[in-house]
Symmetry: C2
Subunit: 239 residues, 2 copies
């Protein structure tokens, strides 16, 4: 497996935890990861307007799926973290539906086409399911939570996802977002996000300085917000 020193690369760590991958599938992915592309912070992962030709795997960095609104506003639809695939659905739809924008510097690679390997197809199916779950979470957040809960719920999701990739522990994780991006994701104004963050800090739920965040008691928080105790994401395929 692709490694950094002695540990698996976060993206691969995540994928290996989503489904068990045999050496065949692994080597396909590793081969794919040998040729990477680097994306600058505010750059688009150029998959809109034009037909997308292959799915992409995000190896490092954060990206977001955004929709530009008629009134000049912006909605962050979802976040893309290491080990996430982009464009699995076959993306060719009217643009403006959504664009993918790099938040930090990112490295990506082409992912093998669906149909290459049954194992990989299984992985893709699971990945799509997890992505969908995140969209559903986002809907529930926006629909039924107040500002404070929205923020902490999203942070919990980040923590959970990064933990799966092995790059979060003890409640702390890198959080390379501006409050404005957070606001655009959560349907709030930056000003109000700021106030709620301060409140959360004062209440000792959260620390967040220098792009490094720490949730003081993720489990308790998750319980309070009614997040499912996110058990394993075991998945049974059709066949």
């Amino acid at each position: 497996m692709l490694k950094i020193g002695s540990r698996p690369h976060p993206a691969f760590e995540r994928l290996a935890r989503l489904v068990t991958l045999d050496s065949d599938a692994l080597s396909l992915l590793e081969a794919a990861a040998r040729q990477t592309r680097r994306i600058d912070p505010r750059a688009e992962l150029a998959f809109e307007r034009q037909e997308i030709e292959y799915p992409v795997l995000l190896l490092d960095g954060w990206a977001m799926r955004v929709r530009q609104l008629a009134d000049g506003g912006r909605q962050v639809l979802s976040f893309v973290l290491p080990g996430d695939f982009i464009g699995l659905c076959g993306f060719s739809r009217p643009r403006s539906t959504s664009a993918i924008v790099a938040i930090t510097a990112c490295t990506v690679c082409r992912a093998p086409l669906p149909g290459t390997s049954p194992q990989l197809d299984g992985l893709y199916a699971v990945s799509r399911t997890v992505d969908e779950a995140h969209l559903l979470n986002q809907i529930a957040r926006l629909g039924r939570m107040d500002a404070h809960d929205r923020i902490l719920d999203l942070l919990l999701e980040f923590h959970e996802r990064l933990e799966l990739a092995g790059i979060a522990g003890e409640g702390s994780f890198a959080l390379p977002l501006t409050q404005e991006v957070l606001a655009d994701a959560l349907g709030l104004t930056p000003v109000h996000v700021n106030r709620m963050l301060q409140q959360a800090r004062k209440m000792g739920e959260l620390e967040w300085v220098a792009k490094q965040a720490r949730l003081n008691d993720p489990a308790a928080l998750a319980a309070k917000l009614g997040r499912l105790p996110v058990s394993v994401r075991v998945q049974k395929s059709w066949r």
Copy 2:
């Protein structure tokens, strides 16, 4: 193709418009549709807790995907209309994530398993993509629209979807929802939904009596709300 009198059945009308289906794929679907199941209004389409064994096609009626919240609240995540598939993703996830509940009486049938026919797999891929688009729409609605716009945007989506199934025209369509369900979908209170509806009626944007709705100028509304002129949903598959 499955028909009602001389017209194609709405569900089939929709599917045929999503992708072109050869007689092979069609007969598979028709065979599936020969054995239907009827679901009562408030019943669950029983796909949660237990592992789902096959995908399902909604032939008639309205259903919704809901999440029950810790605080007793409820979020309607999405709506399921005739011609929509349920459980395409391989649903086996911790329950409480979401349940599917019939709004009206529904008739459903088993859908052929993925992998049965390449054409059908293509259809499933498109269907998933469209579903995803609806989730993204829902996120943008909840995140960045005010109450009035949320309501009308959702109604526009209904209209658009039902039109694709051939069961809406001239802006009017069956709308078998209570204001409370609408509120639970839009992250509002029933009271406020009611007020906004009255306002919309007064402004001549909307009529809605006896479960029959009519948008007076869907195109103008869509433009005002910045809905993409929902062009064809053409879709290029990977292979």
